[in-house]
Symmetry: C2
Subunit: 166 residues, 2 copies
């Protein structure tokens, strides 16, 4: 893989230019390359945000929480493939209803090829979501009741109006 080091160094410089960030920083190729796989191509924040459907603020926030640590090229953040995979896991965790603190714990376990949940954590989370779902269902049912009773009320009022004007 010593060959890759050289190739990636060139690729790093190229992608930096291709990204149009040559003027933001003179890329320290050695540093850019440290986390780079063959075929990796660093992305700037706006592109990552678009690809994952999140805001720039969210990405910076995750970084402030130490969930993401993108490489810096001067002031500019560069997200490599590893960073984007990690972002994917963070967003999965969010969809599963975990807090960022919980996600941080799940990601910082030795193996970080995925969210490492224990059976117990799964069960706890499922129970939490089931309770939440039930509360939502009750609310929906109640709103439907209000909606139909609203019609009844209208009819009642129309009826009494009718009687009154008679």
């Amino acid at each position: 893989m010593a060959r890759n080091a050289t190739i990636d160094a060139a690729a790093g410089a190229l992608t930096a230019n291709a990204l149009g960030i040559g003027h933001f920083c003179r890329p320290d190729v050695g540093r850019i390359d440290r986390f780079a796989d063959a075929g990796d191509h660093p992305m700037m924040i706006a592109e990552v945000a678009r690809e994952f459907g999140v805001t720039l603020r969210a990405l910076r926030f995750y970084e402030a929480k130490r969930l993401l640590v993108p490489q810096r090229c001067g002031p500019v953040r560069l997200y490599h493939r590893k960073d984007r995979e990690r972002l994917g896991l963070i967003l999965t965790g969010r969809r599963l209803g975990f807090t960022l603190a919980e996600i941080a714990a799940l990601l910082n376990k030795p193996h970080d090829k995925g969210l490492r949940l224990t059976r117990e954590q799964c069960v706890t989370q499922i129970n939490l979501l089931e309770r939440q779902k039930r509360r939502t269902e009750i609310a929906i049912a109640e709103l439907r009741r209000i909606y139909t009773s609203f019609y009844r009320t209208l009819l009642d009022e129309a009826g009494s109006d009718f009687r009154r004007t008679e």
Copy 2:
């Protein structure tokens, strides 16, 4: 009802003593009585909190947001029947998934014998909750999948261990 005014005045003084707040304030009976129904009996914050299963902080917060305006007896808050009915409506609104700002708007409509929802507001809220429910269901399904695949993984690992030690 002029008779009630006198009776309630005495009752107001009595309840104030019965509540053990005689030492917190010399009850201005006229003011205590202004919002009092026959059979009304003002409650202090801790009793209201217990009855509705909310915290003191929540009650004070609703007041800061102008959702509740309990009578004051010196520094002490007194919640009359009307206040408690209003609190009930606030909590119902919360269960239906409305924000406090929305609830404030729903309560400040001319008729405040209940939350006055329009058909449109009902539909909008139902749609909101349905979306939320769907997201929760998807999360639950995914967690169940992870749970079972976790077992599979365990079995796989046990299998490979077995092969390895063979």
